[in-house]
Symmetry: C2
Subunit: 695 residues, 2 copies
């Protein structure tokens, strides 16, 4: 659940104990306790080499943690590369894959040359731990060519230039031969023979600047004074770490029934959740996320709308984890048992989607840990266990864990619990409030999990200050909630996307949730369906990962109270079965958006996004590119009015001529147009966007 | 000499060999050859600790090189410090001095708090290698106080708050006792006894927030979960590395005489240079810098105005180092011998000034190295030694050194030469074109010199691209020429000072030369004395180090040709004795500026400078502060017109109330005024500045 600057509020008064859920099957062998080093360190090698290379990126905390990449993703590797004097400098990136194989990627100098920026975009194909280094090197070919281009037309040192050129081509031919490229070697030797001083300068220059020669030299030209940086870690995650469409629902609500006669609810179950799972999959969502499914505590249980007068009939908040039925490794008996959980996971697998579980590291006072491991909590001077507080407010239904009393014990227990769920097919965890736990605890957990199960992903529910959000990403959270939920104006969306795509991309992957059980944002509280469409389009098109908490598609929008961004009758505290086919709804739009995302690699990545000029302040225009795939999106930010404006596309950002004609197809309507640098758009509340695939 | 994007142009045709200068007395023992590691590396320790500390500064290339500080200088140490949850975080800097003694400096959280910036300004008192680390820590007192301030007024948990407070004060009293501070211990114990739950909340709060208690807790309060970063190097140089006033003259011009009968010049000497040395010292300059004083080559010698038709009567450029008379470890026989050099150094010492020597690592074709060590140059494919080129231009009077053919040989030879001059009292070298030599060569040299002679300073004549200039500073150049010479508009001066004082201060110390033998900047070419005054005032007031090449004070300004920034009849190629007392001159102003600089610590430092608003675009207003010393400078940038404007001082930048009355004295005129937030100024070409000391 979300807590911005507050502690944990959920709970539930005691109720009759139920039969304990069947304990989780233990893994074949209980792993030995792993020691916890509370001062983790990494040693990296430094210093400026013969050819200076500085400001290498992506490098996280000096190389202590791995930068982020995903399979198939283009990742920019940058550095400043320069040298003394006037000889030519050049640079390459050397990527080492998990098998130890090295691949060279030549870097390109960028403008402004005076600032010495170099860059290579590398596409990573294999999952797992990689490293990369930048090598600056002296480029004899570049030096010779520069000399030749200056001297030959001036008639200076013709003989020497030819002599040196021929020698260089001979040397390169030998390199080509050693590399098993006899054809290039022959070409190089023959070309060298063309450098005859008696020929006219323009003929010699023609030889020197030939395209074939340039290619041969780029491939085999000598590289001298090669100066490598340290090898910096970059971890290539599976694609879902970057590109995913999340759908959240409460299993207990799905198929829950109300008996008017007894005024009692019967909880939905894993088995009765199959229908919603299938519906979400049909809409193209590929990660289905459940709030905690563990036994819920009864001490200080919260009633409807977060009240303190809950009765036995209230189900309590799922985030008040733990009861006599068990803790984080147990299933709430109302939802089913391990067999039914496994059935649900198996059905998800059939549908090609994944189940993501909430991981909320806190305990209800009824959690088994409280009696078995009181040392995992804080005991106050009066002998009581400290509950959560945001003084003077108290959250007596929640005991925060004290990670410092027995790090080895609690760290290993958390690891054990994660492995229980991983063994049952859960490979994605949505971590509740990670910023209220020690950063170094997460770093340790990720180190352990990544070593054995690099496909397991962690999604940070960190709504907090920027540096903490960044740091959680740096130590290994694969993806994170974002401030998107509160970014509504054109300027703030453009600025935030700039930060995410250019400044934070090496360590932080966004997931744009349009709403959550904790956040009913003000801009949705009008209930106007157009704003729901707009926010879905923005989330799905701006970010490679987006998410929806169920009810959004039905335009649920009533706040707990005016000025509050919480839902009235929040599902956190009660059963909320829904008629998902009620009209109107956003099912079709969400499905269409997910389908467009699947069709377009440009929408599956974060780093290549550009904003374009639309004079109207309520119209956002941007393009995303990946290789040959290009998508242009124009969205109205005004749910109440028709807007008309020009849109000025900088077509060079699409790799096209500035005045190119642009045949496009609107992926929302199927209509085709020819666009150009200047275009007129008219967007309405009913049709608030164009999503244009460049044909 | 200065070369922007060109190679070395100076030279001289052969002339009759003279008797060899007496060789330098060799040091008592020739040091053993020091091996050259061409891939220098440093190992640093990394990783985020229990309390995260990130973005520590000043850290140079991950700690591979030392950040810069000077004796007496206030240096900001910054980091982001934050933690999980709601408990209080705090931070300290631990400085370790060369003797291993650690000193704690408490950090202060800055606004905006949401971005977690912390800072401590540390004044370093001892020369030599220091380290610093940042320690983030959990602050039980901060946590308790926050709780108490929230709970006591709300009447919540009064008993528990008092119990916990008393316990905390008891614990702290024990710490104070252990630290040998029994008085604070007694105060803490007694204060704890005042936390009686039955007292009114406001009385308890009064106890909790007392100033005495705050001080005692700041001193002795417990620090938990202390999380140190790596220890990062910071080198404290002698003060002259930051604060110095340079004056450059050519010894051969001082006392040079012309015999009309024979149309021949007799060179000035070290002995005839005493007068100028004394005059410069009298004007308050404290570093007297000489262009190369070595034998000058005769091969391809340059004549007047850099022409190629030099005769035997032309002295040649001092930067064409080396002749049969010797190389970099020899003295030009025309200038004198080692005895007369030693006399000049001794006189300088008496006057309290230092001699800085030019160190130009290049050779005339007549340099002894050319025959003794041809491997230190580049032999081309036709068997000739490569001269300097900027194709298609050739500079046949200069052989560049090839540092890669025999690094161990040439590195050690350079080290030997430097030690020759160091042994003769030269402790400052002005390095000619360091950006045309390998960066890692300099890093190696500085490592060797710093280990034995940490007082020896190197001044980089690097007029080149920013990254190279930065990197030369990072690997150890103590100070550098700057772009100031070409920064004339208000906006560009303000922007450049921002870069220097805030972005580059950890690795780059500026020396603002108003002119050099290579640079006769366009803005001085009018010859209007007012612009000379303005530039001197700007250089001397903006930068802790400034410099003048002689002739500036006489308003020398004629360019070699229109559109060229070189001097006509440049002293680089001929004798230029001057009548330094000719009127008008800037002698008095330069002396006054140096005197003001000596009186004001605020002007002796770089980092604490703020610009203020003057609506007039030709009026620059800034203030500098160091401790209690505050100086406000208002300068007209218009040498041709009287300017009148308001100046709006942000007095908070001076540590004063925004509406404070400001008694000031104009250090140029002695007049006193009372200034405030808004002031009127009238500046004229004759009186273009106010330099206001805040009284």
């Amino acid at each position: 659940m979300t807590q911005r600057n507050v502690n944990q509020p959920e709970s539930a008064p005691r109720r009759t104990a139920r039969p304990a859920a069947k304990p989780a099957p233990s893994p074949a062998q209980k792993p030995a306790t792993i020691p916890v080093d509370l001062s983790p360190t990494t040693t990296v090698v430094r210093g400026i080499g013969r050819i200076p290379v500085t400001q290498v990126s992506p490098v996280i905390e000096g190389g202590a943690y791995a930068a982020k990449a995903t399979v198939g993703e283009l990742v920019p590797i940058r550095a400043k590369v320069f040298r003394e004097g006037h000889d030519a400098v050049n640079a390459s990136v050397i990527v080492t894959d998990p098998s130890g194989k090295e691949t060279r990627h030549d870097m390109t100098p960028l403008a402004p040359r005076g600032l010495d920026p170099w860059e290579a975009w590398v596409r990573f194909d294999v999952e797992g731990p990689h490293t990369f280094r930048v090598e600056g090197w002296s480029d004899p070919w570049g030096t010779w060519l520069h000399n030749a281009e200056a001297k030959l037309p001036a008639g200076v040192d013709i003989e020497l230039v030819c002599l040196e050129g021929r020698d260089l081509l001979e040397r390169t031919a030998s390199i080509a031969e050693e590399a098993g490229d006899p054809i290039e070697a022959s070409i190089l030797r023959a070309t060298g023979q063309l450098l005859i001083p008696q020929r006219p300068a323009e003929d010699l220059l023609d030889v020197a600047t030939g395209i074939g020669l340039a290619k041969a030299m780029a491939k085999h030209g000598p590289r001298e004074l090669v100066s490598p940086t340290a090898d910096y870690p970059i971890f290539v995650d599976r694609k879902q770490a970057l590109f995913a469409s999340w759908y959240e629902f409460f299993p207990r609500s799905e198929g829950a029934t109300y008996d008017e006669a007894t005024d009692t609810w019967t909880s939905g179950t894993f088995d009765s959740s199959h229908e919603r799972l299938e519906a979400a999959a049909a809409m193209g969502f590929d990660v289905i996320y459940f709030p905690p499914i563990h036994p819920v505590g009864t001490a200080f249980k919260k009633g409807k709308n977060n009240t303190l007068d809950a009765t036995e009939k209230d189900p309590g908040s799922p985030w008040a984890v733990g009861s006599p039925d068990g803790g984080h490794d147990a299933i709430h008996p109302d939802l089913g048992d391990w067999e039914s959980f496994d059935r649900l996971v198996a059905r998800a697998k059939e549908l090609g989607v994944e189940i993501a579980l909430d991981f909320a590291l806190q305990a209800s006072p009824d959690h088994p840990w409280v009696t078995e491991h009181p040392e995992w909590f804080t005991t106050r001077i009066d002998g009581t266990i400290a509950y959560a507080e945001n003084p003077p407010k108290k959250y007596q239904d929640i005991y925060p864990i004290n990670f410092d009393n027995d790090p080895e014990g609690i760290y290993n227990e958390v690891l054990r619990i994660l492995r229980v769920w991983m063994d049952h097919g859960v490979r994605i965890f949505r971590v509740d409030n990670p910023h209220t736990k020690p950063v170094q605890f997460w770093a340790w957990i990720f180190e352990q999990i990544r070593a054995t199960d690099p496909d397991v992903l962690f999604f940070a529910e960190a709504f907090t200050k920027p540096e903490m959000m960044h740091t959680l990403g740096k130590v290994g959270f694969h993806t994170s909630y974002t401030y998107f939920t509160w970014r509504v104006d054109k300027d703030e969306i453009e600025e935030y996307m700039g930060e995410l795509s250019r400044d934070m991309d090496a360590f932080y992957r966004p997931n744009f949730f349009v709403n959550t059980p904790d956040i009913n944002p003000f801009h949705l509280q009008s209930g106007n369906p157009a704003i729901f469409s707009i926010r879905a389009i923005l989330a799905a098109m701006l970010s490679p990962a987006w998410g929806v908490y169920s009810g959004f598609e039905l335009f649920e929008h009533l706040p707990l109270a005016p000025g509050r961004e919480e839902y009235l009758d929040s599902e956190k505290y009660e059963y909320r079965p829904r008629d998902y086919d009620a009209q109107p709804n956003l099912n079709m739009l969400m499905g269409r958006l997910n389908s467009i995302r699947r069709d377009h690699p440009a929408l599956q990545q974060l780093r290549q996004i550009d904003f374009h000029t639309a004079p109207h302040e309520k119209v956002l225009a941007f393009s995303k590119v990946d290789g040959a795939d290009r998508v242009v999106v124009i969205v109205s930010l005004d749910p109440d009015n028709t807007v008309e404006t020009e849109v000025h596309l900088d077509l060079t950002k699409l790799g096209l001529a500035a005045d190119a004609a642009l045949p496009v197809r609107d992926e929302l309507t199927g209509a085709t147009f020819t666009w150009g640098a200047r275009n007129f758009v008219r967007l309405t509340p009913a049709q608030p966007a164009h999503i244009l695939a460049v044909l």
